[in-house]
């Protein structure tokens, strides 16, 4: 993968994250604007670059893994919802990331590694 394609991915993903964040900032109530905190911004940008410079088969494989990451994301949001208001923000964020890692990597291992 060339540096140019990586740079394109980075710029597109960063830009889409900003766009979805702005939509979240401009909408209310907070529970509705929160939807955009978990928008598929990085996924859309990355899949678009994969489709442009790689194969559809690779894009499809990426979405298979993304299903597991999405389940981890929902659990991460649950943990963030519980932890960030009660703990310091940094510790709450770390707990949320840890929850994502445990769920997503655990599912990945169970489905693609341990299940073989």
């Amino acid at each position: 993968m060339s540096i140019g394609i990586l740079a394109l991915r980075a710029v597109l993903a960063g830009a889409l994250v900003v766009v979805f964040s702005l939509i979240g900032e401009l909408t209310r109530p907070k529970a509705f604007s929160g939807l955009f905190a978990a928008a598929p911004s990085v996924a859309t940008a990355s899949l678009a670059v994969t489709l442009g410079f790689d194969t559809v088969t690779r894009a499809r494989s990426e979405t298979v893994g993304m299903v597991l990451g999405g389940i981890g994301m929902a659990v991460c949001c649950l943990v963030a919802s519980a932890a960030i208001p009660r703990l310091r923000a940094v510790i709450g964020s770390l707990a949320a990331w840890l929850a994502w890692g445990l769920v997503a990597l655990g599912l990945f291992w169970a489905v693609f590694v341990g299940g073989r």
């Binding site: 604007s33 905190a37 990355s46 979405t63 949001c77 960030i84």
Partner: protein, 142 residues
């Protein structure tokens, strides 16, 4: 005295534009760029399924909630997190549509359909939350 009816309708709040800090958005841009490149590199080493898993990595969420907690307080961060849970579940709809339709329909159409699936699932889940727990979606309590 009758309880005030919850106003759960989504709407625009253009006044928020005045409160936007460029530094916060620059930080979000960097987080998005880094996780996208990271997912690509992980995909090169561990395969596209492992790399794809990181397309749903919550890079922005904890940073976003932290910024909201600092700027607007814990209650707003808590209510935003409730919405993010629904958005996270909807992310699975995005991925499932992609997984089911790539290779069957034109790829760019699939990407649009997946985005539409995320929007539909997210808004649908919000509607369910608004019916079941209207107080969590009440604009008057923001």
């Amino acid at each position: 005295m009758a309880a005030e009816r919850a106003d759960v309708r989504p709407g625009l709040q253009l006044g928020s534009l005045r409160r936007i800090r460029v530094r916060d958005y620059a930080l979000r841009f960097v987080f998005g760029a880094v996780i996208s490149v990271g997912a690509a590199l992980i995909g090169q080493v561990g395969g596209p399924r492992l790399g794809g898993m990181f397309l749903a990595f919550p890079a922005i969420l904890p940073a976003g909630l932290t910024l909201i907690q600092e700027k607007d307080g814990t209650r707003d961060a808590d209510r935003t997190a409730v919405g993010a849970i629904l958005g996270g579940i909807a992310l699975c709809a995005f991925a499932i549509v992609g997984e089911a339709a790539f290779g069957t329909l034109p790829p760019w159409l699939v990407l649009l359909l997946a985005l539409g699936a995320w929007c539909g699932a997210a808004i649908g889940l919000y509607a369910v939350l608004a019916v079941l727990r209207p107080e969590a979606c009440d604009r008057n309590r923001d």
